[in-house]
């Protein structure tokens, strides 16, 4: 195994892109990453693309081939493979690209993520996203994805006394950061009252506890660390890339208030990177629902079980606090184009570690952690990045 670095990063704005198709979004993100790395498409040896469900969202499968073709790579016969792990598809693609370079098989790889979600009506999107859960034994009986998140939240409230007002702090922080990110889906701040009084999706989750339906693409260029400086003065090392899986159905878990896959991925990632939670300068944590972010904060070792929300109450999660959290705006405010999200989290960390994040720049950021999950925290993937 050899060290792997990110030498280029780029993404589209997240949001409702009525004027852009799946391929437009993917190609835009990919070309931005290549431009950032200062290389051309002909330098790419392989593509790994994260995408959850283009087959359902726009009726297009064979997404790897489509993207490679319209990125101009068909003449070069570059292999392009789509990777799927529900909402963790982006991080799963990065994990695949990391392995491909670390193994020595390829020297330069493009990792992308893309999702085009707004070509369908809301109830159809809800149904497709529910495919991240167990279609036959959860969804069949009427469980939507937010319903499953809501049952995690309800149980957490029962076990630890969390209130809706406390839980609302997480979207409030995410929106505060999103307001400083020109690429975010939502660029306005919200209040606790707005969160708890928003339309109910699945009690106790209002629509403001849920990430939006977004279109978007994100991409990074990976290179073996020994050649990275040929392309950039500020390569970012991938110090850890770890994936872990749990039971698919929420009802199979012993507990609804902890995620064994996140705990496992976190522990192994810290070990691989030779880091501890206290060494992390900023985190991008998967906040598809506020409750998932809270479990993520605790299960990654940043707070004791039941006490994660204290970090929000104490103001530590703001970009200038002790544990800058979802400085990009997170899934909640930056947006959640599912296949792009895991790659987009890493694009944000790259910008932060290169000191290029503008108004939301975290001071002296050297080490960042990205936490991307699929399903009800079924698949958890953790990446730790650091300045080389």
């Amino acid at each position: 195994m050899r060290d792997v670095a990110i030498i280029g990063a780029g993404e589209t704005k997240y949001g409702e892109h009525w004027e852009k198709s799946l391929r437009d979004l993917a190609v835009e993100a990919g070309l931005k990453a290549l431009e950032d790395a200062g290389i051309g498409a002909q330098d790419i040896q392989a593509i790994f693309g994260g995408n959850m469900s283009a087959g359902s969202f726009v009726g297009q499968d064979h997404v790897g081939a489509l993207i490679a073709d319209f990125a101009g790579l068909a003449e070069h016969k570059v292999p392009a493979i789509r990777v799927e792990s529900a909402c963790a598809s982006g991080a799963a693609a990065l994990h695949s690209g990391y392995m491909a370079v670390a193994s020595g098989l390829y020297d330069i790889v493009l990792v992308g993520g893309v999702e085009k979600m707004t070509d369908l009506q809301g109830d159809m999107v809800t149904d497709i996203l529910a495919g991240a859960a167990d279609r036959e034994w959860e969804v069949f009986f009427g469980a939507t994805f937010p319903a499953l998140g809501a049952m995690m939240a309800r149980r957490y409230m029962y076990e630890y006394g969390l209130t809706k007002e406390q839980m609302a702090l997480l979207p409030v922080i995410a929106h505060k950061h999103g307001a400083m990110n020109p690429d975010a889906h939502f660029q306005r701040e919200v209040t606790v009252d707005q969160v708890i009084n928003a339309p109910m999706v699945a009690d106790p989750l209002t629509i403001m506890n849920c990430s939006p339906v977004s279109d978007g693409g994100a991409a990074v260029v990976l290179a073996s660390a020994d050649i990275a400086r040929k392309y950039t003065d500020s390569p970012i090392k991938i110090s850890a890339s770890v994936a872990a899986n749990d039971y698919l159905s929420l009802h199979e878990r012993e507990s609804l208030t902890r995620s064994p896959s996140t705990i496992e991925a976190g522990k192994k990632a810290y070990k691989m990177a030779k880091k501890e939670p206290k060494d992390i300068d900023l985190v991008e944590i998967h906040d598809a629902f506020s409750i998932i972010a809270l479990l993520g904060i605790e299960d990654l070792g940043f707070a004791k079980k039941g006490e994660g929300i204290k970090l929000a109450e104490e103001g530590q999660l703001y970009y200038d606090g002790d544990l800058p959290y979802n400085v990009s705006g997170g899934l909640k405010a930056k947006g959640h184009p599912v296949g792009a999200t895991g790659v987009g989290q890493v694009v944000e960390i790259v910008k932060q570690l290169r000191n290029e994040a503008g108004k939301r720049q975290v001071p002296n950021a050297r080490v960042g952690l990205a936490h991307n999950v699929g399903g009800t925290m079924t698949s958890s993937i953790v990446h730790i990045l650091e300045v080389m």
Partner: protein, 134 residues
């Protein structure tokens, strides 16, 4: 969808048939062909077992979304039910005012219509839960 998609699951959805690992005794629902705890020692040996249908609410939510096939039921109560045999099941709680549902509430399974595939499509059946008599 065609009939076999629903037909093949009928025994578990109508009669709560799960499986028990003869090595460690753990009961699973829906049925599994391998016990996650005992691995290959359990392969080919998993035994069928019928759940009693009894249980208690472990967690729940009231769904307000428009859901394909379920939109005429909204708002409806979804729950995870803890059974005395061990497995937890996801299902709706019906014949109850949503605000009366609480964690720990005793319920039991009943056979009900779950959803329909449009006006001319298949009517799908399975279990829902109702509160025990007080």
């Amino acid at each position: 969808m065609v009939v076999p998609r629903f037909w093949r699951e009928r025994r578990s959805r109508y009669s709560l048939i799960g499986t028990k690992c003869p090595v460690c005794g753990t009961v699973y629902f829906p049925p599994r062909s391998v016990c996650p705890k005992c691995g290959r020692k359990s392969v080919g040996k998993m035994e069928e077992v019928q759940l009693s249908g009894k249980g208690k609410v472990y967690s729940y939510t009231i769904v307000h979304q428009n859901v394909i096939g379920y939109k005429y039921q909204k708002p409806y109560v979804m729950a995870i039910i803890e059974t005395p045999e061990g497995p937890k099941l996801t299902g709706q709680i019906v014949d109850v005012e949503p605000e009366k549902v609480h964690i720990g509430m005793p319920v039991h399974a009943v056979f009900r219509r779950i959803a329909e595939d449009g006006k001319a499509g298949i009517i799908q059946y399975g279990y829902k839960f109702v509160p025990d008599e007080e």
